[in-house]
C-alpha cells in the first residue's frame, strides 16, 4: 500500500557480485572499526567509505531519500540526547533550557542544558551508527535474503539466529507498510500527531504500535506454521540450492578487509596498553601520536 514496503529488499543486479560471506565479513569489519575509532574525522572517513559503497550501487532516489531521513533523525536524536544527558567533566553549557536560578523546573532538576561536549560526543556516536547502517543497507540492497541465510549457515551461525535475522529482513518491510497504513487511518480519524509537539507524537506512536504488533503476532504464527509444514527444523542439517563459491575477488576483498581491521585493532590495542601503563616502547611513539590524533 505504501512505498516503505520495499526499502530493505535487494535491488536487481547491483554490486560487485561478491559472495554473501564476503559481504558479511566486510560488514563485521566496518562494525569493529566503527567501535574501535574515536576521532570524529576518522569516523567521518569510515562513514564516507560506507556511503560511497551505497552510492556506487546506484539505489533509486526514494530509497536514498529514505536513508537520508533515517540518518538525519538518528543523528539529531543521538546528538540532542547526548548533549542533554552529558554528565562527564569538563562540560560547557551551550543552551540553558531550565536555569536553576530562574525556574522551578531548573531548581527541581538542578538545571537542564545542552552541553557542547555532549553534542560532540553524540556526533561521534551517530557517525558510528550511520557507518554501520550504511554498510548494513549496502549488504541488504545487494543480497537476496535466501543467499544471506545460506551464507550465515556456512559461517556456522546458529540456525535459530540465522532464521530470525532473515525473517526480520524479509518481513520488516511489510511491517513498515502496515505501520504506514495504521498511521494514515488514524490521521483520517482526526489524530494530529504534531499538534501538541513531541508528547502528542509519542502518544500517537504508542497508539499505532498496538495494531501493528497484533498483526505481527498473527503473521508470525502463519509463517511459523508455513515453514514448519515444509519440514523446517533448526536442529536438522539442511542443504542449499544455491551454491556459494568464493572467487578471487572475494578472497582479495576479504583478506584486505581482514588485514586492515586487524592492523587497526592491533594499533589501538598497543595505544591502550600504553595509556594504561602496561606496555610502552619509545620506538612506537610516532604510532601513539598517530592513534591519538587520527584514530
Amino acid at each position: 500500500m505504501f512505498a516503505a514496503q520495499d526499502f530493505l529488499l535487494p535491488l536487481p543486479r547491483r554490486g560487485l557480485g561478491l559472495d554473501p560471506r564476503t559481504k558479511i565479513l566486510l560488514l563485521a569489519a566496518v562494525s569493529l572499526v566503527a567501535v574501535a575509532l574515536d576521532q570524529g574525522r576518522a569516523l567521518l572517513g569510515l562513514f564516507s567509505l560506507a556511503a560511497s559503497s551505497l552510492l556506487w550501487i546506484r539505489p533509486p532516489w526514494r530509497r536514498l531519500s529514505g536513508l537520508m531521513l533515517l540518518l538525519a533523525l538518528g543523528t539529531f536524536g543521538t546528538m540532542v540526547s547526548q548533549a542533554l544527558f552529558y554528565n562527564a567533566y569538563p562540560r560547557t553549557a551551550w543552551v540553558i533550557l531550565a536555569d536553576p536560578a530562574k525556574s522551578w523546573l531548573g531548581r527541581a532538576t538542578g538545571g537542564i542544558a545542552l552541553y557542547r561536549e555532549g553534542l560532540a560526543y553524540g556526533a561521534v556516536q551517530s557517525l558510528r551508527l550511520s557507518a554501520m547502517l550504511a554498510a548494513g543497507l549496502a549488504v541488504c540492497w545487494t543480497t537476496d535474503p535466501r543467499d544471506l541465510l545460506s551464507a550465515l549457515h556456512r559461517l556456522r551461525i546458529p540456525e535459530g539466529l540465522c532464521f530470525m535475522t532473515i525473517t526480520a529482513v524479509r518481513f520488516l518491510p511489510l511491517v513498515l507498510s502496515e505501520a504506514a497504513s495504521v498511521w494514515a487511518s488514524q490521521r483520517l480519524r482526526g489524530v494530529q500527531p504534531f499538534r501538541y509537539g513531541p508528547i502528542s507524537l509519542l502518544f500517537s506512536a504508542v497508539r499505532m504500535l498496538r495494531p501493528v504488533f497484533a498483526n505481527c503476532v498473527r503473521r508470525a504464527t502463519v509463517l511459523a506454521a508455513s515453514v514448519q509444514s515444509r519440514a523446517y527444523d533448526p536442529a536438522r542439517p539442511r542443504t542449499s540450492l544455491q551454491e556459494l563459491r568464493l572467487r578471487r575477488v572475494d578472497w582479495a576483498v576479504g583478506l584486505s578487509a581482514t588485514l586492515a581491521t586487524l592492523l587497526l585493532l592491533v594499533t589501538k590495542a598497543l595505544y591502550l596498553l600504553y595509556l594504561n601503563e602496561i606496555f610502552y616502547s619509545s620506538r612506537l611513539r610516532p604510532l601513539y601520536t598517530f592513534v591519538r590524533e587520527v584514530l
Binding site: W61, A214, D233, P237
Partner: protein, 576 residues
C-alpha cells in the same frame, strides 16, 4: 477413486486455555484422487481440521487431541512433523504471509533444502513443480513480480516439490481476484487429473469452488453436519442458509423454482429450457438505465487524474474522471493491481495525483500535498485489524469523533454501534471479536464521525455471505437515508457489487473503462472479460431470458413467479 488416503476417526481437539473444542468428534475418510470441499462459517473449525491432518496439531500445538488421524495408513501423531511434510502439504490464505523467499526458485527449494535433498535432485524437482503449476518460465523471477494468483500457485509448487500426494488448502482464494481464483482452481484440477492428488479445500466461496469438487463437508461449531457428494450436497439448503453461507446460484435458483435437481454449472440455454423460459431477444436490455438522481452537486470530483508511484515506470491511474454524488453507492471493480486501492487512497487524500485534480465542495485544496481531509473522508482498510487500537469497542468507535473535536462523541459512537449491530459488544475488546465483528467495528469507527465520503477497501474479503449482507444492508440504508453522504467500495465480488451499488465502475490497468448501473456494466461481456470479472450467473440467465436485471437467485425466482404479461410490459425495445 481407490484406496483411502486420509482417515479421521472420532477426532476432537481443544486449543490450550479454551473450554470448548475447536473440532469435535469428526470422522471422515477421503479416497485417493478426491477433491473434498470443507466449508462452514468463519471460526467453525475448518483450519483446525487441516492442521490436524498435516501434523501441526499435535506436533506444534499444546492443546488436547483425542481420536485418530491417519495419512496413508500412518497415524500423524506418531510420525515426525518433517515426515508429515513429505506426504501432506498445507497452503494458507495469504500468499504474502507464507511465501518466505524473494525469488521463485528459492521458495520452491525451501522445503527440499529442509529435507536435505541433494542439489542436483533439488534442481530437477524445483523445475518439475514449477512446470506443474504453470510457472516453469518464471523460475528466476522475483516473488514481488508475481500476481496474487501466481503467488498462490507458487505456494502450491513449494509443497508439490516435496513430493506430496495430499494437498490441503486453507481459504486459498479469499484474497484473489476472479482470474487468480480460476488459475488456482484450474491448477488443482490438473494436479488431480495428472498426478491423482488428493485435495482438501477449506473455503466458504462455495459458488466459485463447488463445481471443481467431488464432495462437500459442512462444519458447524466443530462438528460435521453434512457430508455428501456435490450433486446431492444442496438437496436441502437450510443448513447453508442457517450458517449464512452463499449457496451456489444455480442450485438455489432450481430449489426456489421447485426443481428437483441441483446443478452447479449448466449452460444458460439448458437452464432456460429447464425453467421453461424462452430466450429473449439478443441485446435486449431493460431496467439497466440509471436511476434518476437528485440535482445535488457531487461530493467529490476527480478530473483527468493520473497517479504514478515513485520509482514505477507505469501510471497506477490514468485519465480517471468520475463524480461521486450524495446518496450514492459506487462499487469499484477490476482485477488485482488495476488501481482500485490507489483510487481509494486518492479519494481519501492520502495520495496526491501526479496530474489532474480531486475536488470537494468547500475543500478546493485537496490536491495539495499535506491537506488531509480529516473528518470529510472515512476509510475502512482491507485488513480491519490495522484500525483497532482501543481497549473496548465503544472507545474504538468514539475515537474518531473525540479526535475530530465533535460534540457528544459517546452518543455518536452509540448510534454507529447500533447501525452496525454491535451495541451488545460495546464493552468487549475489539481484538477478541470474530472477523466479521471486527470488520463491522472498523466500519462503525468511521461511521461515527459521519464522513460525507465513506470508503471501504475490499470489505467482502474472507467474510461469510451473512456478514457481508448484514454490513452492506446497514451501510446502504444509512447512506441512502442521509442524502449528503456517499459510499465507495472496492470488491471482486460481482454479486455484492450488483446487489448493493447504484453504480459500478470497472477498472482496467488504471483506467475506468466503463461505469454505470450494474445492469449495464454486467451486460458488457467483452469489457467484463477484459477486466477478469464474471457477471453473476443469475444475471446471465435473466439477460438470456430477456428479463430485467436480477443479481440474486431469490430475485430471479420471484420474477419468474410473476405473470409473464407484466414482465413483457416492462420491456424496452432493443437498440437498432
Amino acid at each position: 477413486m481407490s484406496a483411502t488416503t486420509v482417515s479421521i476417526e472420532s477426532l476432537t481437539y481443544r486449543y490450550p486455555a479454551t473450554s470448548e473444542p475447536a473440532v469435535r468428534d469428526i470422522s471422515l475418510e477421503v479416497p485417493e484422487g478426491q477433491i473434498l470441499l470443507i466449508t462452514g462459517p468463519t471460526g467453525c473449525g475448518k483450519s483446525t481440521l487441516l492442521k490436524c491432518l498435516n501434523g501441526l496439531i499435535p506436533h506444534a500445538s499444546d492443546g488436547v487431541r483425542e481420536g485418530f488421524v491417519r495419512v496413508h495408513g500412518r497415524e500423524v501423531g506418531s510420525i515426525a512433523l518433517a515426515e508429515c511434510a513429505r506426504h501432506v502439504g498445507l497452503i494458507f490464505q495469504s500468499p504474502e504471509d507464507q511465501v518466505f523467499s524473494t525469488s521463485v526458485e528459492d521458495e520452491v527449494a525451501f522445503g527440499l533444502e529442509n529435507l536435505g535433498t541433494p542439489r542436483a535432485e533439488m534442481d530437477r524437482r524445483v523445475q518439475e513443480a514449477l512446470d506443474q503449476v504453470g510457472l516453469g518460465r518464471m523460475r528466476l523471477a522475483r516473488v514481488a513480480e508475481l500476481s496474487g494468483g501466481m503467488k498462490q500457485r507458487l505456494a502450491i509448487a513449494a509443497v508439490l516439490a516435496m513430493g506430496n500426494r495430499i494437498l490441503l488448502l486453507d481459504e486459498p482464494l479469499s484474497q484473489l481476484d476472479p482470474r487468480g481464483a480460476q488459475e488456482v482452481l484450474q491448477t488443482l484440477r490438473r494436479l488431480r487429473a495428472e498426478r491423482g492428488m488428493t485435495i482438501l479445500l477449506a473455503e466458504h466461496r462455495l459458488d466459485d469452488v463447488v463445481e471443481f469438487c467431488d464432495r462437500v463437508v459442512l462444519i458447524e461449531q466443530g462438528r460435521i453436519v453434512l457430508d455428501e457428494p456435490c450433486d446431492r450436497a444442496f438437496s436441502d439448503l437450510a443448513p447453508y442458509e442457517r450458517l449464512g453461507l452463499r449457496i451456489p446460484d444455480l442450485a438455489e435458483l432450481y430449489a426456489l423454482c421447485g426443481r428437483p435437481e441441483r446443478p452447479l454449472s449448466r449452460d444458460v440455454n439448458l437452464v432456460l429450457e429447464d425453467l421453461g423460459l424462452d430466450p429473449g431477444r439478443p441485446g435486449a436490455r431493460y431496467g439497466c438505465e440509471a436511476k434518476p438522481r437528485d440535482p445535488l452537486p457531487p461530493i467529490t470530483t476527480l478530473t483527468n487524474v493520473f497517479f504514478r508511484y515513485a520509482g514505477q515506470e507505469r501510471d497506477a491511474l490514468s485519465r480517471v474522471q468520475i463524480e461521486i454524488y450524495p446518496g450514492e453507492v459506487l462499487a469499484l471493480m477490476g482485477a488485482n493491481g488495476c488501481g482500485k486501492s490507489t483510487l481509494l487512497l486518492l479519494l481519501a487524500g492520502l495520495l496526491v495525483p501526479s496530474a489532474g485534480s480531486v475536488t470537494r465542495p468547500g475543500q478546493p485544496g485537496v490536491t495539495r500535498r499535506g491537506s488531509l481531509p480529516r473528518g470529510h473522508v472515512g476509510l475502512v482498510l482491507q485488513n480491519p485489524d490495522l484500525m483497532l487500537q482501543a481497549e473496548t469497542v465503544r472507545d474504538e468507535v468514539a475515537f474518531g469523533p473525540l479526535h475530530l473535536g465533535l460534540s457528544n462523541p459517546l452518543q455518536r459512537a452509540a448510534a454507529a454501534l447500533s447501525v452496525m449491530g454491535l451495541s451488545d459488544l460495546a464493552d468487549r475488546s475489539p481484538l477478541a471479536l470474530s472477523r466479521g465483528q471486527r470488520q463491522r467495528t472498523a466500519t462503525a469507527s468511521v461511521l461515527s464521525f459521519t464522513p460525507p465520503l465513506l470508503l471501504l477497501d475490499e470489505p467482502t474479503t474472507g467474510q461469510n455471505r451473512a456478514y457481508i449482507d448484514e454490513m452492506m444492508n446497514a451501510l446502504c440504508q444509512e447512506i441512502r437515508g442521509a442524502h449528503d453522504r456517499a459510499l465507495v467500495f472496492s470488491t471482486h465480488d460481482a454479486v455484492t457489487a450488483a446487489a448493493y451499488a447504484d453504480r459500478v465502475a470497472l477498472m482496467i490497468e488504471g483506467c475506468i473503462r466503463i461505469e454505470g448501473p450494474p445492469g449495464e456494466v454486467f451486460a458488457d461481456s467483452v469489457t467484463l472479460q477484459e477486466a477478469c470479472i464474471r457477471a453473476p450467473r443469475t444475471f446471465q440467465i435473466a439477460l438470456a431470458a430477456g428479463l430485467s436485471p436480477c443479481f440474486r437467485a431469490r430475485d430471479l425466482a420471484d420474477r419468474l413467479r410473476k405473470p409473464p404479461v407484466s414482465t413483457e410490459a416492462r420491456e424496452i425495445p432493443a437498440p437498432p
